[in-house]
């Protein structure tokens, strides 16, 4: 139950983020979740979209440098300690979080969904399931 994330290399210069997102807009791509990792010289724009295949095609056509990664979309209880409980479960099973970010939209009552990039996806699936954490599938995201 992995979700495909697209990462795009974005040089730190004015207008660059705008032009990349405009390419997606023109292809009628809906961004479901997004985060930017930035350094002094460049950034990595990470997105979850409704149509990954199409998004990849149009980004490549626009000379963007892209890569795809399997990530997990996990729902946590929308209450104090919700995230902490999930982190503890991963930590106790020696799974490291490379990075995580949240969905833009409220998907379900009393639940917040986060995208997790982990160093051991297979193991994480089991650990999260054992802890009763709800995961979203690629189809779930397409139909959001």
């Amino acid at each position: 139950m992995f979700v495909k994330q697209i990462s795009i290399f974005v040089e730190n210069k004015p207008g660059r983020l705008m032009s990349v997102t405009k390419v997606l807009k023109e292809g009628n791509i809906d961004i479901k979740a997004l985060s930017i990792a930035d350094t002094k010289d460049f950034g990595i724009l990470r997105i979850i979209v409704n149509d990954t295949q199409k998004a990849l095609e149009i980004l490549k056509k626009a000379d963007c440098t892209v890569t795809t990664t399997d990530v997990i979309a996990a729902g946590v209880e929308d209450k104090p300690g919700g995230v902490a409980d999930m982190m503890q479960a991963l930590y106790e099973n020696q799974i490291s979080v490379e990075y995580m970010y949240a969905f833009a939209k409220k998907i379900e009552e009393k639940k917040a969904f986060a995208i997790l990039r982990l160093d051991n996806n297979e193991k994480a699936l089991k650990v999260l399931a054992d802890n009763g954490i709800k995961l979203l599938s690629a189809e779930d995201i397409t139909t959001l």
Binding site: Q5, S7, F9, V10, E11, R16, A37, T39, D41, F42, I44, R46, D63, C64, T65, V66, T67, T69, E98, Y99, R117
Partner: protein, 434 residues
């Protein structure tokens, strides 16, 4: 007025100098013909015999030696003595990243010391002075060359080498340095760091700087002199010929006297090879006439210069060369180190997963040369984590630094964004003031 080190040669009448050059040249040509297969082959091909060279007037008959010849005979193919006579090796980098090795006999080191001592004496240094050497020590000829020359003159030498600017300033203050050897850009950096530290030129005893190993402008000289209160002198040299001390500035500061009793200069048309008269700009060519281990014959320096033989107020009769106006190929001098864009290219190609599209951005920030290498990111290099990309950047940075011998910053840019000219990438953007 600043003193002479070897007045007999420095102020020799022209006819005496020519006679000495002729004698030394004919001896050298005979020696390399006998001992160096490369020269014998070239001379045979050109139909020149050692006995055809009896005077400096015959110099034009000899074939040129090119940097490529040094690479082709790497490492010791052009040495004219057995290795038992060689007491020192130095090296300089070449276009392909392959080094060029030069050697010295004990007598060559003495010649070199004398050449550097002449430069220091002309700048007003005496055995009472403290010489702070900020050139790099090692295979680069700058540090050890000036070090030996200064000791030869009897100066108190402080072998500081490069780096740690604040510590250098503390040494200048505490040890009472009165003279300094550095690249002009580093000298300006020292001056500005002093300002930041709140140290004025009255707090130090420096009075003279012998600055070289990179091109600099009259404007830089004025800045250095104003900020530090020193008198700044230019010095010229290249490892292939001997290192620093091939030519030096006197109190007039209008061109550099060439130690022509050791190195005969010629100016030629770089395209035709034709010898040009004094006062005309062209490519500088040197013939070593006293070197034992590594005597280059008509070596094409690829430096552009002009010779002037006129009465100098310092009393020296040594011919003067006017500052090189540029190189005849794409070499860059960054912080005193020769850098060829093709070296960067070969590093990128060797690493494999990087794009071969790059651009060198050379600038001068706080009066120190900076080198930024922009590389177009390749799909193979790209990853969703910053850590992974930065690791690869580090690999490029380390590989480039170990090849070039100087630090560089690596900047990844998007594909197809580096400036191209008629399909070919623009390799170098030099923002330093010419």
């Amino acid at each position: 007025m600043a003193g002479y080190w070897e007045k007999k040669y420095e102020c020799a009448p022209l006819h005496e100098m020519k006679a000495l050059q002729s004698f030394r040249l004919s001896q050298t040509v005979r020696r390399v013909y006998e001992n160096v297969p490369h020269y014998r082959k070239r001379m045979d091909e050109a139909g020149v015999k050692p006995e055809d060279i009896t005077s400096v007037k015959d110099l034009y008959k000899l074939p040129f030696t090119y940097k490529q010849d040094l690479r082709d005979t790497y490492p010791y193919g052009l040495f004219a003595v057995g290795m038992d006579k060689v007491v020192r090796l130095h090296a300089s980098s070449g276009t392909t990243g392959k080094q060029i090795v030069v050697g010295y006999t004990e007598n060559d080191i003495t010649v070199w010391k004398d050449c550097c001592a002449r430069a220091l004496a002309a700048a007003g240094c005496t055995n009472e002075d403290f010489m702070h050497v900020s050139y790099g020590y090692g295979l680069f000829t700058g540090g050890l060359g000036m070090h030996y020359g200064a000791e030869h003159l009897g100066m108190t030498v402080i072998p500081v080498s490069v780096g740690n600017t604040k510590r250098q300033i503390t040494i200048i203050q505490d040890f009472g340095s009165t003279a300094i050897c550095a690249t002009p850009s580093y000298m300006l950096h020292l001056a500005e760091t002093m300002e930041e530290m709140g140290i004025s030129k009255d707090d130090i005893k420096l009075k003279v700087g012998i600055l070289g190993a990179e091109p600099w402008t009259e404007e830089m000289r004025q800045q250095i002199q104003e900020k530090t209160g020193i008198k700044a002198y230019d010095i010229y040299g290249l490892s292939e010929i001997i290192g620093p001390g091939v030519a030096f500035e006197c109190s007039e500061q209008t061109g550099m006297h060439i130690n022509e009793d050791h190195f005969i200069p010629e100016i030629i048309d770089p395209d035709t090879g034709e010898v040009l008269p004094d006062g005309v700009q062209g490519e500088l060519v040197f013939t070593c006439i006293t070197k034992e281990a590594f005597p280059l014959i008509r070596y094409r320096t690829r430096d552009i210069a002009m010779l002037k033989r006129e009465k100098c107020s310092c009393g020296r009769t040594l011919v003067k060369m006017m500052k090189p106006a540029g190189r005849s190929d794409d070499m860059l001098i960054i912080r005193g180190v020769n850098v060829f864009p093709s070296q960067v290219e070969s590093v990128l190609l060797q690493l494999g997963n990087t794009s071969p599209y790059y651009q060198l951005i050379v600038d001068r920030v706080n009066n120190t040369d900076t080198l930024e290498i922009q590389v177009e990111i390749s799909p193979e290099m790209f990853s969703d984590t910053v850590k992974s990309i930065e690791t690869q950047e580090k690999v490029i940075k380390d590989a480039v630094e170990s090849t070039l011998g100087i630090a560089a910053t690596i900047k990844l840019v998007e594909p197809k964004t580096l400036q191209r000219f008629e399909g070919k990438a623009v390799r170098v953007i030099d923002k330093r003031k010419k």
